[in-house]
Amino acid sequence: MDCRAAVDHHVCNGVCGCCGALRPRYKRLVDNIFPEDPEDGLVKTNMEKLTFYALSAPEKLDRIGAYLSERLIRDVGRHRYGYVCIAMEALDQLLMACHCQSINLFVESFLKMVAKLLESEKPNLQILGTNSFVKFANIEEDTPSYHRSYDFFVSRFSEMCHSSHDELEIRTKIRTSGIKGLQGVVRKTVNDELQANIWDPQHMDKIVPSLLFNLQHAEEAESRSPSPLQATEKEKESPTELAERCLRELLGRAAYGNIKNAIKPVLIHLDNHSLWEPKTFAIRCFKIIMYSIQPQHSHLVIQQLLGHLDANSKSAATVRAGIVEVLSEAAVIAASGSVGPTVLEVFNTLLRQLRLSIDYELTGSYDCAVISAQIIKEHEERMFQEAVIKTTGSFASTLPTYQRSEVMLFIMSKVPLPSLHHALDAGKAGENRNRLTQIMLLKSLLQVSTGFQCSNMLTALPSSFLDRLLSAALMEDADLRLFVLEILISFIDRHGNRPKFSTISTINDISVLKLKVDKCSRQDTVFMKKHSQQLYRHIYLTSKEESNVQPHYEALYSMLALISIELANEEVVVDLIRLVLAVQEIAQINEDNLPVYNRCALYALGAAYLNLISQLTTVPAFCQHIHEVLETRQKEAPYLLPEDVFVETPRLTKSLDHLVPEVFFRQSKISEVLGGSGYNSDRLSTPYIPQLTDEDRLSKRKSIGETISLQVEVESRNSPEKEERAPAEEITYETLKKAIVDSVAVEEQERERRRLVVEKFQKAPFEEIAAHCGARASLLQSKLNQIFEITIRPPPSPSGTITAAYGQPQNHSIPVYEMKFPDLCVY
């Protein structure tokens, strides 16, 4: 074939021009399609002849193409643009008429011609070339083409996308052509593995930014006002819309392995053009991406965004906030697929960024070594933190229930808490950092838990989680306590009753609240059996805090009310009443020297709750008693009612010393009336006394000695007044000992625990089990720490010295043994 071609050329060269009749037939046919005057356009009849010839002798196609292109190149050189257009038209027609298998021979010269047109400086030729190329791109070839390179086309079309031609109209046309051309290249190559891989960075780095560049100039294009007649047509052709369509098409075709190369240029483009802030464009971009990408790949986009966030750890807070906002939007779109297989990694990254931001905010610089290279704006960091928290929430909302509780467990495990075995950073800065971290993490947790509806409290709130959460409830920091209460409330409230208790009041008829109540499920009963004492204790201790303000009391009220609605059986109701009476006693005895406001608030809280529970139990005598007390208060001491206390300016009294006994709710009376209705009156008449644990002491940072004496005091105060105390409630050495060796209970618990473990391993997914083992590893860690602690310290002697041991600042550097086991050890 080569040989023949050579001969042809030879003949042509030797004879061409001298004697037309001797020229090969295809040349004559080609020549005939060109009119004398280019104005006349393609000679239609002759074109038909040429097409017919090409169809009947497809083996000649390559030579027809070569000859046409030769003519075209010559015409371009001689500026005979009329003929150029005619040649191109003829090429297009041939291309359309010929069928796939024969096209291949023809394409090479075709592409050469397009390239020639694209090389021209004349916009018209560029556009002409692009249009032909687009027509070609829409033909589906079925024969592979081995050495066809689109490098030049990608480069040139990308360049056209950036056209800066002086005339706006022409510029728009060139840019539009550029985009169409890119679209053509993508269509042509995307499915053909033999061809240049369009997904290679060298191409993607040109195509994607060119499209984005046009996408981002939407405003610029819209601001000009075209005449209304042209408007519709222009709109159809606007580079912005075209770019968007092209981008969607591109991303829609991206396979798993190509996503990265396609998204990376987007991220870099947004970086370079500082488009993270204001973030509207970035969000728009990623909306386009998320909606057009194949859904099973969406988690890859999220991962890349997260990676980009990490890479930008030291960028300005506004940039980071922009990325995080984009993440949040993208996560919602990707919904269930957003997180992919690495749930915890997503949250880990977010939390890490949160901690970094707190550090930046506190230290005032990105790097301790660099002396204030960049000034950190505190409010920007704050905004960033809020954005991270919001994003955490939107990620969590896409997760199925079981993963959500896993995530909550994970976040909780990151909250720095003072514990027996792990000292927190000491010093002022460390304390500050801890506090901020605690607040931010609890906020994230709250964000994650809102709207979380678990069917089973037991799995939603495993003890490892609840323990940590509750220990945070005892922090001195009022804000922290409020967060913990809110989190607990959002867990307990599964019927949306929460807003009905947002204000504390004594309502005469609770039916107006239209409460939604389901029967307490068996699992919930088990949950309460297991954890109720813990909950009560924390409610009790929290209500004692002096730094409580109205929101705290409101949260406490909501919590009590919601427990009564969601989780209560008879026993729980009895316990809650005991608890509230004990709270009343706090105010009454006032051993902590609480201010009048706090005491009134506690009285009012009790009144509101007992009013509610009396109506829930619908025991007439009980309601009667509560009603009486409320009436007396109304008359004698309105400052003990929520209506007077929980308002903007509480109407308080000066002294609470001389209250008549009728304003108090009496335990004996209540147990009497409820006992008549089948409630456990023995239990009811026993006053509630919380059991303090080591943990409480530690988080309150009070010395052991103090707490013990406090406990003794509580006891001594209580005992003379209440004779009916059950011996089991007395806190003596014997009781404690008994509690420890209470083998029956322990056995039962053990059995339950075993059942749960077996169930878990049978039903739970692998990740969950792994996470569980991970938790165990940390337990091992803490045990190890404990052992080491003991070995490096003198065993504390009883009483006094313990205080000193706990009080001493533990700011020594972390020795090897305190290093965390990496999470990987789990697997």
Partner: protein, 203 residues
């Protein structure tokens, strides 16, 4: 008569800080004009010019990149396929000279390792405002093993020379490569596509 309208095809990419006169150099060379008040290039610009050197047609594909930082990612993507880079700075602007090492790093990172780099100090018509001495630039280019030239796009000093010299060097480089690896694989700068190589030689 050959299918091709050239014997060699080379891709040349101009890089350097914003406002050093890259576009003006290209315009001067390809169109013979000096557009006063030339705006900043957006993304990339493309020009083509065919020159004849020793009877051989050399087609130069010239990609003129934007100097602005924000277009850096798209311009970098053009380095890769370049046969030659013209690294431009402004002799009246110390800053543009001081950025050269950074540009060299970019070249190292993104361009092919066979690329030929020319250092160009532009705007010698503004001699009275010169901030970077010729000697300094020569020393620098010598240390970096680069060819150095001072030009003025405005006065058209050395502009032709710059591109023609570059073309010559590219040709000799391409020839050398042909000798070294005597395979029929596509060579950098070899403009002829394989299928027509035989017929070209035949004639």
């Amino acid at each position: 008569m050959s299918m091709e309208d050239y014997d060699f095809l080379f891709k040349i990419v101009l890089i350097g800080n914003a406002g050093v006169g890259k576009t003006c150099l290209v315009r001067r060379f390809t169109q013979g004009l000096f557009p006063p008040g030339q705006g900043a290039t957006i993304g990339v610009d493309f020009m083509i010019k065919t020159v004849e050197i020793n009877g051989e047609k050399v087609k130069l594909q010239i990609w003129d990149t934007a100097g602005q930082e924000r277009f850096r990612s798209i311009t970098q993507s053009y380095y890769r396929s370049a046969n030659a880079l013209i690294l431009t700075y402004d002799i009246t602007c110390e800053e543009s000279f001081r950025c050269l090492p950074e540009w060299l790093r970019e070249i190292e990172q993104y361009a092919s390792n066979k690329v030929i780099t020319v250092l160009v100090g532009n705007k010698i018509d503004l001699a009275e405002k010169r901030e970077v001495s010729k000697q300094r630039a020569e020393e620098f280019s010598e240390a970096q093993n680069m060819y150095y030239l001072e030009t003025s796009a405005k006065e058209s000093d050395n502009v032709e020379k710059l591109f023609l010299d570059l073309a010559c060097r590219l040709i000799s480089e391409a020839r050398q490569n042909t000798l070294v690896n005597n395979v029929a694989s596509p060579l950098p700068g070899e403009g002829k596509s394989i299928s027509y190589l035989t017929c070209c030689n035949f004639n």
